[in-house]
């Protein structure tokens, strides 16, 4: 029954998106407002269909309706409710359904928020693009990724449940939806970019309308990526959180281009420059989300030759190709209108700093993309199977990351148009001192790794620069009689908070990469071993039954304090036990324990894996600060200048403190 409801919902969604698209496009071309108005009803049909389809899936999962193939494959009576709900996105078909749901939420939000501009052709065409994307994903649900198939033959009485790795940590319930909310969110700015090209209104208006949507998607994607790293740290058991794995890269690539866009778009707002570049970045971000879905969902990573087995691979790849071709065509068609009115006056200015920042982000994205797809290209062309190891990613992205930290400190200090040395000296004095002191202190404490020294002192440089701006802004806000937090709200200052978060995260990344200590120790009960500055004592093992699995747990005391219990968990239907790490988090370092092998005899020896990693918690803290900063950037700040004022209006030459001081 639920299967029929779900299937009808998918069909309804597809019909509503194509129907709405038809009305909308004909209405827009013929300038018939009655047709345009009619299309809005269809849009709500799309939204309703997505909600209905996803609801049907959840109902089937929660009620253990094993007549549905998806539930029979991914559900189980013994799985706790949280993971049952989350198993809606633990396999391919369900994740496409989640995509559709998220997209329709954006569709609804967009329609409500821009109610006033609904007769504007730019909005109309943007809605049309969204409907095309929605229609495509509904088509996937009807075809190769149908989650509503019913079981052939006898209905099973129970199922295997989700993959053990996906029901071993509560983060599984949050990380995928948040990541998708960010991922899918980039459809909105993409739709408006296309709409502006179609209508020929390539000025700064659409850019301004899209500012908050892009920020929301950026914030959610950032949080989703950090949560994903956290999940893999807590679950996968190797003590790391980021492996440059294609699945991770797929989520990181659009983040890079989106971040580049958020910066370069400021140049377009202020100076009307970089129009083609910004449109390209918005498109690249969206196209990379489709490419990422293709990479992770089509099975192409198992073997280039197997991805055609489930129709979804060719469809996603085809969609990606269509996006690229259409956008290139549109850019060529509107080439004349895209010529920018402004030019860069001086190489030492805010706009050229943003240009450098963008080149760095583009290079970063290219390096990651190349490393991700190179094994596929090699297999397709040469039939040789290979992997690109971490060294490639670490060595290639490291210098780019350091350069970005440097730019992060310098760029906010540079005024638009042209900087004088006096202004620079004034603004960079404190950050430079912070960097210098950090460097001296670290060298005095015996740190000799050049890469780590550079990372930490550049981090101090960038962090101090961001803090300086925030302190100035908060002070100015208090002088003006506003509450202190008003000073750090608004886009520029929220952006500085995001910078702080990125610095904190980068420090965690650098420290945990450079100074990790790992060991695997065979221990008798009562034996103590030392790893780094920590003592671990193996106490003994016990077996505990959970609703969905059985765990053999080792009791390990850390530093003569609390006991932690890394375990080996056996799930029914799974052939192998999976490790369940236990982590003692700390501000300075984490002690990460795994049970490598339990004792074979009573009171025998067990092998305990110990990983001591410094500053891991800084990663999660950095993620939280980025989220807060993005939130602050969404709140309207105080402006010195109307955003709709002509972009290349001549500025006064004595530019005051950038952004930070509200007047």
């Amino acid at each position: 029954m639920t299967a029929i409801v779900g299937h009808s919902a998918a069909l309804l969604g597809f019909l509503a998106s194509t129907g709405g698209l038809l009305f909308l496009v004909v209405g827009l071309v013929r300038k018939r407002s009655d047709l345009i108005r009619a299309s809005w009803t269809w849009v709500w049909g799309v939204v309703g269909a997505a909600v209905l389809g996803f609801g049907a899936m959840e109902v089937a999962l929660v009620r253990h309706d094993f007549s549905m193939q998806y539930v029979a494959d991914n559900g189980s009576r013994s799985t706790p409710l949280l993971y049952t709900v989350a198993s809606a996105w633990s396999a391919l078909e369900g994740s496409i359904l989640l995509w559709v749901l998220v997209l329709s939420i954006y569709l609804a939000a967009l329609s409500l928020r821009h109610r006033a501009q609904r007769h504007d052709p730019v909005f109309g065409w943007a809605l049309a693009v969204m409907l095309v994307v929605a229609g495509f994903f509904f088509l996937l649900l009807l075809g190769p990724a149908n989650p509503f198939h019913t079981v052939h033959g006898a209905i099973p009485t129970d199922g295997p449940g989700p993959n053990p790795l996906l029901q071993n940590h509560p983060l599984m319930a949050f990380h995928p939806p948040i990541l998708y909310a960010g991922y899918v969110g980039f459809t909105v700015p993409f739709a408006f970019a296309i709409a502006s090209l179609i209508t020929g209104r390539v000025d700064e208006a659409w850019v301004l309308a899209m500012r908050r949507w892009t920020l929301v998607a950026f914030g959610l994607l950032s949080v989703g990526i950090v949560l994903g790293a956290w999940w893999s740290y807590e679950v996968l058991g190797w003590g790391g959180f980021w492996a440059w794995d294609p699945v991770e890269n797929a989520s990181f690539l659009p983040w890079l281009t989106a971040t580049a866009y958020l910066h370069s778009v400021l140049v377009q707002e202020r100076r009307g420059m970089l129009r083609v570049w910004n449109l390209s970045l918005v498109t690249a971000t969206f196209a990379l989300t489709i490419l990422g879905t293709f990479l992770t969902r089509s099975g192409v990573l198992d073997s280039v030759h197997s991805f055609t087995e489930s129709g979804i691979g060719p469809m996603l790849l085809g969609f990606f190709a269509v996006i690229v071709v259409v956008v290139c065509g549109l850019l060529a068609w509107r080439g004349d209108a895209l010529r920018s009115p402004g030019t860069i006056d001086s190489p030492v200015s805010r706009e050229s700093a943003f240009l450098v920042n963008n080149l760095l982000f583009a290079a970063f994205a290219f390096v990651v993309l190349l490393g991700t797809v190179f094994p596929l290209i090699a297999e397709a062309l040469n039939n040789s199977r290979l992997t690109i190891g971490r060294p490639y990613f670490d060595r290639m992205t490291g210098p780019i990351g350091l350069a970005l930290l440097f730019m992060m400190a310098v760029a906010p200090a540079l005024p638009w148009r042209k900087a004088s040395t006096g202004v620079l000296r004034d603004r960079l004095l404190v950050p430079a001192w912070a960097a210098g002191i950090t460097l001296v202190v670290l060298v005095a404490f015996g740190m000799r790794s050049v890469a780590a020294l550079l990372a930490f002192s550049l981090g101090a440089f960038a962090g101090a620069a961001a803090l300086r701006q925030l302190v100035l802004a908060a002070r100015a806000s208090r002088r003006a009689g506003d509450p202190l937090w008003r000073g750090v709200a608004g886009r520029a200052n929220g952006g500085m908070v995001v910078h702080l978060g990125v610095v904190v995260l980068a420090m965690g990344f650098a420290a945990s990469m450079s100074f990790v200590q790992r060991d695997e120790i065979r221990m008798h009960p009562g034996q103590t071993a030392k790893v780094g500055r920590h003592h671990v004592t193996y106490v003994g093992v016990d077996t505990k039954k959970y609703p969905n699995h059985t765990a053999v747990r080792a009791a390990v005391r850390i530093d003569n304090d609390r006991i932690f219990r890394p375990a080996l968990s056996t799930f029914p239907f799974a052939t192998q036990a999976i490790g369940t790490p236990s982590v003692r988090g700390g501000v300075f370092d984490d002690v990460y324990l795994t049970l490598v092998s339990p004792p074979t005899t009573r009171g025998g020896t067990a092998v305990i894996g110990v990983v001591v990693t410094p500053l891991v918690n800084w990663l999660w803290a950095g993620g939280a600060i980025i989220a807060i900063g993005t939130g602050l950037a969404l709140v309207p700040g105080k402006r010195r200048r109307r955003p709709t004022a002509p972009a290349s209006e001549p500025f006064a030459t004595d530019v005051p403190e950038p952004e930070a001081v509200p007047v």
Binding site: V247, T296, I578
Partner: protein
Amino acid sequence: MKRGRASLILGVAVLLAGGLLWKGLTNATVYFKTVDEAVAQRSTLGDRRFRLEGIVAPGSVHERGGGVDFVVEQNNASVNVHHVGDPPELFRASVPVVLEGHFQGRTYESDRILVKHTAEYRKANPTRVTDYVKP
């Protein structure tokens, strides 16, 4: 004139970046060979590091101080393996394994054994087996 110089600088920069990327890629490339492929390409592989995939031959496992010797076979080809270090818990005869190491003469010097389809293997190759990627 100014334009010509700019494009020259740009060209040199692109070439440099390309060379750097190529070097990084080739240095970090780890080939993945089955036993028969490895035997066929023994001379070209030299002492280069690669991953060797095969099945542990029954009756071939001999523990020795600080390591283990065994034979991996696949598709009627076999290679003698000299492994340094403790083999993992699930390592035994007849299981599929992925080794990491290089040829030294006719034996394969391995320093890492991944038993396929275990948490350990999944860790190293998350994309090959995790259902997160492919259900």
